[in-house]
């Protein structure tokens, strides 16, 4: 079991490195006497988080809810568009330029339009996080579906396989690693979208909380919001990584897969 202890040691090492980053931050702030208005120390931020947590909680739930709904919608739409693009040449030629154009628009510019249509609040936040996730998912799903080996396709077609057989047995499983890679990108982007919209036009959510806190010069609370967002992002990323391991583990490092 030398392998496992080696692995554990590696994990420990990286955990220590991450921790030392925060320690360094703390020490640097103390040594250079950085004002709390400019950059609060990690301990102060955690203190603020603890102190204000009852007030923060509804905002946290609001942001998490908005993000997950937007993300789920984005994934659903992205998979459908990606599948169509990956399978059909015409759809590829039509939809790709549109998508590239649309995703090049800064999403800040889109939020006011959503607000105009749906009013301030939850809906624009959901929509913003949705549109921001669609593109990476579409691109990855389409690429994944398009990478079936031509020889294998010939083997299956010679057997009399229908397009749907090939899609189901070969293309979809093969697209899984691409799909999960895009999910991990999309979930982090979804938070960006939500917070962006909350900052511009909402009275709830962590984005809104940070806006209010910064206008009150409660900088530790602003950073507490940032920490929470980062924490949520990491947590969801980890969840998707675990699912990925189960569903598409074959594409990861062979050694780990064999052990699992």
């Amino acid at each position: 079991m030398e392998f496992l202890s080696e692995r554990a040691r590696q994990k420990l090492k990286s955990a220590l490195l991450i921790l030392s980053f925060f320690v360094l931050w703390e020490v640097a702030c103390l040594v250079f006497k950085v004002s709390e208005i400019v950059l609060p120390r990690p301990t102060v931020i955690l203190g603020a988080l603890w102190q204000f947590f009852p007030g923060i909680r509804p905002h946290l739930i609001q942001t998490l809810y908005t993000t997950l709904v937007g993300f789920a919608l984005g994934v659903g739409i992205g998979v459908v568009i990606g599948a169509v693009i990956g399978v059909s040449r015409v759809a590829y030629d039509t939809a790709y330029p549109l998508l590239v154009g649309f995703s090049s628009i800064p999403k800040v510019a889109v939020v006011p339009i959503f607000v105009l249509w749906f009013g301030a609040g939850t809906t624009p936040a959901i929509l913003t996080s949705m549109v921001i996730c669609i593109f990476p998912i579409v691109v990855n799903v389409a690429t994944g579906l398009a990478t079936t080996e031509p020889e294998l396709e010939d083997v299956l077609k010679a057997l009399g396989a229908k397009k749907l057989d090939i899609l189901w047995n070969v293309s979809l499983p093969r697209a899984m690693p691409y799909f999960f890679a895009s999910l991990k990108v999309a979930i982090t982007l979804a938070f960006v979208g939500t917070v962006l919209s909350e900052t511009v036009a909402s009275n709830r959510g962590i984005g809104n909380l940070m806006m209010i806190a910064s206008s009150n010069f409660n900088v530790p609370l602003v950073f507490a919001g940032l920490f929470l967002l980062a924490g949520l992002g990491v947590a969801l990323y980890v969840i998707f990584s675990l699912i990925e391991r189960r569903v598409a583990g074959w594409a990861m490092r062979k050694q780990d897969f064999a052990m699992g």
């Binding site: 020889e151 010939d154 077609k157 010679a158 057997l159 009399g160 074959w250």
Partner: protein, 285 residues
């Protein structure tokens, strides 16, 4: 694709008929041209070729001469621009003939165990398809295991493709091509990427499988020893645009052994084939 008119062609003759049975595969002036007008490239000049049921035909020739094209025509993966391709007495595609195919690239699916990879055709081809759920843990599984044993992969069914060497993957590839007992086995340079020893071992296995099951085999290869060792007939093709320039029966008794490949008659045959291909390459034929 299924536009063949059934009434145009007489179905296969009953066994009592005095004439020789129709060939299983028949190319009648089948040719392929890619592109149109001035840009047209002829890949295969109109070709006639009859292959009897249970025959083992090797197609050899310079690279790019259309050997694989013939394979794809027979598998109905591409359509002839001219002429006709008949399989089982009817225009290709009209009759469901069980086809197994294997290429140089083993294309095992990395997320499936070897056994499940081999059972993939059973998921797709009738009559296995409708029984797949019921029998995949029993009868079909045994079937896969038995085939694995024949090719020398006993006990490897639970492994994943990346755990196997190239030679082992190619053995598994043969199993996948044969699991549904196809009447027609199409092999496109299946052993091209293997070392000499593994290749020779697989020749013996393939010969044994063919002798036991008697599928009709078309083998595309660059290796003349391979062609002469395995095939009952060797067809030599000319350089692009391809056509068949020689069609030799290989008379040696079965089962053939590797030692036979060093005997004078065998060497003479491969030399003759080599000469034909060299001529074909330089355009003398």
């Amino acid at each position: 694709m299924m536009a063949a008119k059934p009434d145009t062609f007489v179905p296969a003759l009953p066994p009592s008929a005095p004439e020789r049975a129709r060939p299983l595969i028949s190319l009648e002036g089948a040719g392929i041209t890619y592109g149109r007008g001035a840009n047209a490239v002829e890949a295969l000049t109109p070709t006639d070729l009859d292959i009897d049921k249970g025959d083992f035909v090797a197609l050899v020739g310079p690279s790019g001469c259309g050997k694989s094209t013939i394979l794809k025509l027979v598998a109905n993966l591409i359509r002839a621009s001219r002429g006709h391709v008949f399989v089982g007495g009817r225009e290709v595609g009209a009759e469901r003939v069980g086809i197994g195919m294997a290429f140089q690239n083993p294309t095992m699916l990395p997320w499936l165990r070897i056994r499940d990879n081999i059972m993939l055709p059973l998921k797709i081809v009738e009559p296995f398809r409708s029984e797949f759920r019921a029998k995949r843990k029993t009868e079909f599984r045994d079937r896969a295991e038995a085939l694995l044993e024949v090719v020398g992969l006993k006990g490897f069914g639970d492994k994943y493709p990346w755990q196997l060497s190239g030679g082992m993957l190619q053995r598994a590839n043969l199993c996948r091509a044969l699991i549904h007992d196809p009447a027609l086995l199409l092999l496109d340079e299946p052993f091209g990427a293997l070392d000499q020893f593994t290749r020779e071992e697989l020749w013996a296995i393939l010969q044994q499988l063919w002798m036991d099951r008697k599928p009709t085999v078309i083998l595309v290869t660059h290796d003349l020893r391979e062609a002469a060792y395995l095939a009952t007939r060797v067809c030599v093709m000319s350089a692009r645009p391809g056509r068949i320039v020689a069609d030799d029966a290989v008379p040696f008794a079965r089962p053939r052994t590797l030692d036979m490949t060093f005997e004078p008659e065998f060497v003479a045959l491969t030399q003759r084939l080599r000469g034909l291909i060299v001529d074909a390459r330089t355009g003398k034929v």
